[in-house]
């Protein structure tokens, strides 16, 4: 649905409210943000977080998760490494961050 703008008439720009060019879309819910775009067929990720703050990581068993139907990939420190050259580790390796 398109909605007509009712823009106030302005003779000059200074001291006059200038409505946003996409204001009508925003107030009517028609504006499309990234999260509103359809993503048919997109893979969905899920993050497993540690139940223990700053816990020691002994092992992470993902065998049951990987065995679920439709699972494409599982990634952790063992798969992608700590991230050489990055200034922050992508995944915790020894202790939970």
């Amino acid at each position: 649905m398109t909605v007509a703008a009712s823009t106030p008439r302005a003779s000059g720009a200074i001291g006059v409210r200038q409505p946003l060019i996409d204001g009508v879309e925003k107030v009517t819910g028609q504006a499309r943000y990234t999260a509103d775009l359809p993503a048919a067929g997109a893979l969905v990720g899920a993050i497993l977080r540690s139940p223990v703050a700053h816990g020691e990581i002994r092992r992470i068993d993902t065998s049951r998760a990987r065995a679920l139907p439709g699972v494409q990939q599982q990634a952790g420190a063992g798969e992608v490494g700590a991230g050489a050259g990055a200034d922050e580790a992508r995944f915790a390796r020894i202790t939970v961050l």
């Binding site: 007509a4 703008a5 946003l20 204001g23 925003k26 107030v27 943000y33 999260a35």
Partner: protein, 161 residues
């Protein structure tokens, strides 16, 4: 996953849809019905971006199960404009710049809509209280309050005519 047939009214239209028991109202609206005007902000009931009306009362769709809306009337921001005309609140938010990035705007407008239906001429304190569950990270609320006040004034002018 257990599903059920959900019967409800969305934006004036009766619907029956199969939804999983754990489906959130927000996901039902955005994904099943493509009503993406209702925004996912914090996803935890803190920011108000997902505010919709259930039987006229403002509710947070991100912490409401779709199944809880059986037999109810759900209204989203998409329902407010009629025949291509913005509602008074929508026009006021547009003209008074109550919207900037716009992400909080649908929730703000729905919360204000609920207020004005019950209290057509609220005080500024009542407007602030009604919008106290809606966070904005752009405009700083002054223009949002002004926008609601402008809609109130426009309604009063129309009633006096």
């Amino acid at each position: 996953v257990a599903k059920r047939i959900l019967s409800l009214t969305v934006n004036g239209r009766r619907r029956e849809d199969a939804v999983a028991d754990h489906t959130l109202l927000l996901d039902y609206l955005r994904e099943a019905l493509q009503l993406t005007g209702t925004k996912r902000g914090c996803d935890g009931g803190e920011c108000g971006a997902c505010t919709v009306l259930i039987d006229g009362a403002p509710q947070l769709a991100c912490i409401t199960l779709a199944a809880r809306c059986e037999g109810r009337h759900v209204e989203t921001v998409e329902a407010l404009a009629t025949d291509g005309r913005m509602s008074r609140l929508q026009a006021a938010f547009h003209e008074k710049l109550g919207t900037q990035c716009g992400y909080c705007t649908p929730g703000m407008i729905m919360a204000a809509e609920a207020l004005l239906r019950g209290t057509p001429t609220p005080t500024e304190a009542e407007i602030r209280a009604a919008l106290s569950g809606n966070l904005c990270r752009c405009t700083g609320y002054v223009k949002i309050i002004e926008s609601v006040q402008a809609a109130v004034d426009a309604g009063a002018r129309e009633a006096a005519r």
